[in-house]
Subunit: 265 residues, 2 copies
């Protein structure tokens, strides 16, 4: 249980990804940074487009690899992590993640996922030995690689909200973002909150933008106090040794992804 | 209903994404191309790393945008599509997608999604006016943008298969790939098949590779004859005008993503 109040100054990394510096994403990112700083938090920003972040994992990431050596990505990124041979851009982002008590992501949902530049931030930064590996148990909170960090995905989407509601055709926004929320954040021991979303983002009326900022402010105020999504932990006794949910453990009425979430109080 | 047999020669686009030309992904891609050609199909290959595919959507994609003009990505990609001003690399890939009767994707699952270079292929190629837009209805088969094309995701994953099984902690491979299967392929009117996956891919014994090729061959043989995932169509009467599944439509025992799939016969 988190016993600190929202007023205790903490360290927040803001990761943002949009090619236009006058976009809604950029406005929401600036708003978040200002709001968090006004609350006393220390904020660092990774603006991936401004940084010209390299999206693609390739042999240039492993300059010490011999010219004719086969690139096994996971093995090589694990060795480079262990031996301190990661490229400077990746090492700098890992340092920010280690430093942070919370990470806020601000991005547009493109084809039901993060823009490629942000996917490439996950692909390149969350290496073996940093995010998982020997001695680190996935989905196990304190026994995982990056325990305790709060994560808030703040996204914009062109579609209307009903299409991302529980019965919406796109799937709920929680299910659409499950690969990140569960597969990356919960996997590495972080504590993802429910996502925050602004819909109808391609032509957002000014009054809706003002409403969105108010709603976003409330979520930022709860960054360290709101209850994270109660994903089941691998260490919690709900899974067998082959990482399958034990029979009958899930809550009635859950079936596919939602059975990995405990009922809320 | 598809009445052509598997032996009718068809056009298949193979999209593959791995930085190492001696990887398991590369081996499976070469196997797929050979197998499909041996069956009489015409095969074109987009090897994204070999093509040095540009992953990131940015202002360079819209060279006709005035220097001080704000980049609204969806609107600008729609205009560029309509006016034939897309960059040559994007236009070439759209031509391949239009040409294809089926698309096979071969890639490693990295952090529960496609490598950034492939995410960037989706982000950049599936523009407004090409994949969706005025006069095109999402999730509506023949009324959508790219109707009838079969899609097979063939993936490799380091984890064991049980962790991706129906009750597996990662979520079933179908649910993990839902953002692509449903959000992109079904959305645009394509016909995604069940994904094909090779697990334990970081250290695959030779005999498992031989087994994997046999299983893959069977899936490639069924590319035009296997039943696609029976996603509900927006045009099928199951959704309200706000794109929400109507009450009581889903099959008993389904809840989150799986309620958008009809029961199989």
């Amino acid at each position: 249980m988190n016993t600190r109040t929202q007023n205790t100054p903490r360290k927040v990394l803001l990761v943002t990804a949009h090619p236009e510096s006058r976009s809604l994403t950029a406005s929401l990112s600036a708003f978040a940074a200002d709001h968090l700083r006004a609350a006393g938090h220390e904020v660092r920003v990774s603006d991936l487009y401004a940084m010209k972040w390299k999206a693609t994992v390739d042999a240039d990431d492993f300059p010490d690899l011999a010219g004719d050596e086969r690139l096994a990505v996971m093995a090589e990124s694990g060795r480079a992590t262990e031996e301190g041979r990661l490229t400077a851009d990746v090492a700098a982002e890992q340092e920010k993640v280690r430093w942070a008590d919370a990470i806020v992501f601000q991005f547009p949902v493109w084809w039901f996922g993060p823009p490629a530049i942000l996917k490439g931030w996950f692909d390149r930064v969350f290496t073996a030995g940093f995010a998982y590996g020997p001695g680190l148990v996935p989905y196990s909170g304190a026994a995982s690689a990056l325990p305790g960090r709060r994560v808030l995905l703040s996204v914009t989407a062109g579609a209307r909200g009903t299409a991302f509601s529980d019965r919406g055709i796109h799937g709920s926004i929680a299910d659409v973002l499950h690969p990140l929320q569960h597969g990356l954040f919960a996997f590495t021991g972080m504590e993802p909150l429910d996502p925050f979303a602004v819909y109808g983002a391609n032509a957002l009326p000014v009054e809706h933008f003002e409403e969105a900022k108010l709603a976003y402010a409330a979520r930022l105020d709860g960054l360290f106090t709101d209850e994270p999504v109660p994903y089941r932990l691998l260490s919690g006794g709900d899974y067998d040794h082959d990482m399958r949910l034990l029979p009958g453990v899930e809550d009635p009425g859950t079936s596919s992804l939602d059975r990995h979430v405990r009922a809320r109080g």
